[in-house]
Symmetry: C2
Subunit: 330 residues, 2 copies
């Protein structure tokens, strides 16, 4: 089982409008609602890859109730129909996603993605999230330590809700390491800085997060600097340029076969799912990176924000280029 932790879960709303015009009134022509927050997105992709997942974090209030109802409906039951025998490999059956969220008194936040139908551009509005009390944080810590006993790996994902101390992720990283469970940390700002010092197995910053952490926008310099701060492995996601992995076993650069156009929402979460599933399956670094790059590229290509296009994923997987940096190049 893979555990994902989302301290600031969200009810993600997507609104389609013909065009977003500031100071005008808009009738929303299409809308969708789904359980969100980075760790929940990671769990959805892990499930699609056939990995049993348990999600924890906080949920509360009326939006928390809706989020949990939607979560209970995962994995989506639109299983592929019967196919002619022998033509294609059997599809991977989606694995269950188990709700182990801790109930809080506050209201789970909503996030609203307003999608301009003319251009596909998205304007994002994020509520701050519920104020979490000290007792609620203690309840989460207890739940987390129980869940670690059955976990093959854990992902700690996203922003902190109000009331949670900035060293929260460092505390969760230490608990995972004490339990011997590989831990990936995907956050930003001060919670990332503090969390790295607790020596997580992996971090997956994007270029902005890396620059904020290290002050450098030069990928190799920034990634190596991030690793020196305490992370065992740093997988920098460089958008259309793919990923740069600086690990104890070597340095690799992985890139999609071509640049793609689409919606990058959730591409980073798909990459986390790729890295974590590869780790649990004992794949080599190049194969983990191939999977992570193919999944995040297939997420950009998907018509639904945050989902990945399975056919594109399978088509891309063997075509992702992975190059090892030789010691001289290091």
């Amino acid at each position: 089982m893979i555990l994902t932790v989302t301290l600031n879960t969200a009810l993600d709303l997507t609104y389609g409008v013909p065009e977003l015009v500031p100071h005008a009134s808009h009738r929303v022509s299409e809308m969708s609602e789904r359980p969100g927050g980075k760790g929940l997105n990671v769990a959805r992709v892990l499930s699609a890859l056939g990995h049993e997942t348990v999600v924890t974090g906080f949920a509360g209030g009326s939006t928390g109730t809706v989020l949990r109802e939607l979560l209970a409906g995962l994995p989506a039951t639109d299983a592929p129909g019967p196919e002619a025998p022998g033509t294609t490999p059997a599809p991977i059956a989606p694995a269950p996603v188990t709700d182990a969220l801790v109930t809080v008194a506050g209201n789970t936040r909503r996030t609203i993605a307003v999608v301009d139908r003319a251009t596909g551009d998205t304007t994002q509005l994020n509520e701050p999230g519920p104020l979490v009390t000290a007792d609620e944080w203690a309840a989460l810590l207890g739940r987390y330590e129980e869940l670690l006993t059955g976990a093959d790996a854990v992902a700690l994902c996203g922003s902190l809700p109000p009331g949670i101390h900035v060293g929260a992720y460092a505390e969760l990283v230490r608990a995972a390491r004490a339990a011997g469970v590989p831990v990936l940390l995907d956050t930003s700002g001060e919670p990332l800085r503090r969390g790295i010092a607790a020596r997580p197995d992996l971090i997956k910053p994007n270029a902005d997060e890396l620059a904020q952490l290290t002050g450098s926008r030069e990928p190799m310099r920034a990634t190596r600097d991030a690793r020196r701060r305490g992370a065992h492995g740093v997988i920098a996601s460089l958008g259309p340029d793919g990923m740069l992995a600086v690990t104890p076993d070597g340095i690799w650069q992985a890139a999609p076969p071509a640049r793609v156009l689409g919606n990058p929402t959730g591409a980073g979460d798909s990459a986390v799912a790729g890295l974590l599933s590869g780790l649990v399956e004992g794949l080599s670094w190049p194969d983990r990176l191939r999977r992570a790059v193919a999944l995040s590229t297939a997420t950009v290509l998907s018509p639904t924000a945050g989902d990945f296009d399975r056919a594109a994923y399978e088509e891309l997987l063997p075509r992702v280029g992975v190059e090892e940096h030789t010691p001289a190049a290091r």
Copy 2:
């Protein structure tokens, strides 16, 4: 008791952001949630004026539940503190607002007002509302006819949710007239056009709604044309220019003492509450118009969208100018 009907109730969310920038990500710094839809806003103002109100219409799903919880908290209990005896008139005690909404299977819509903290400008996003079934509409009609037996007046307010036929308001107007209950219709487009033909006692279009209905932007021409289409009285709200009333008893123009700056959200709903409470209290046309103009101006001046500033209302009331058009001027 005054009855208000809101077929497309809404959970109104207000998000404060430093500045709304299309295609950027925004952290919402302040947010509020309240029960909305025009008829609910009218009821809130009627309650503040001391009129018992019953609200009907549709509510459903998780957002409907939240809306009804918030509605149960009305009227707000922040009663004025004790004052030195004899210094000011006793404040009007808010009257109860009773929930007689019909439960539907669909989810009540949300509306989101994104307020730019730098300029005060608002960008509005409105979900379409639940699909209402024929059985749900029949249940509403039954509830409405029961409620009419105890009503002194009724206001029919706002847009129609999906699934409701465009002649719905005409049907509700006819039922009110058959029951001998004065009926005010406040909607727009085709539902207004159809509703007028059923001969409501009053309509309260704004300049855009009038122009859409009659093809004219000249206030006197358009207002008289609207009256010829079937409404007994037409009160055109002309924004900062006040109101023009074309009624069976005469024609009046009412205007605030000065132009004011502020948020016009809800000003029309306050005007409806002013007109309807004045009708029920048997006020003269000039006094009804004075109240409607003072209430809507005090709504523009209120720091909270949709609330009215009571001190401003009391100060404005005697200063609203009302002028009768003599037959020659007609």
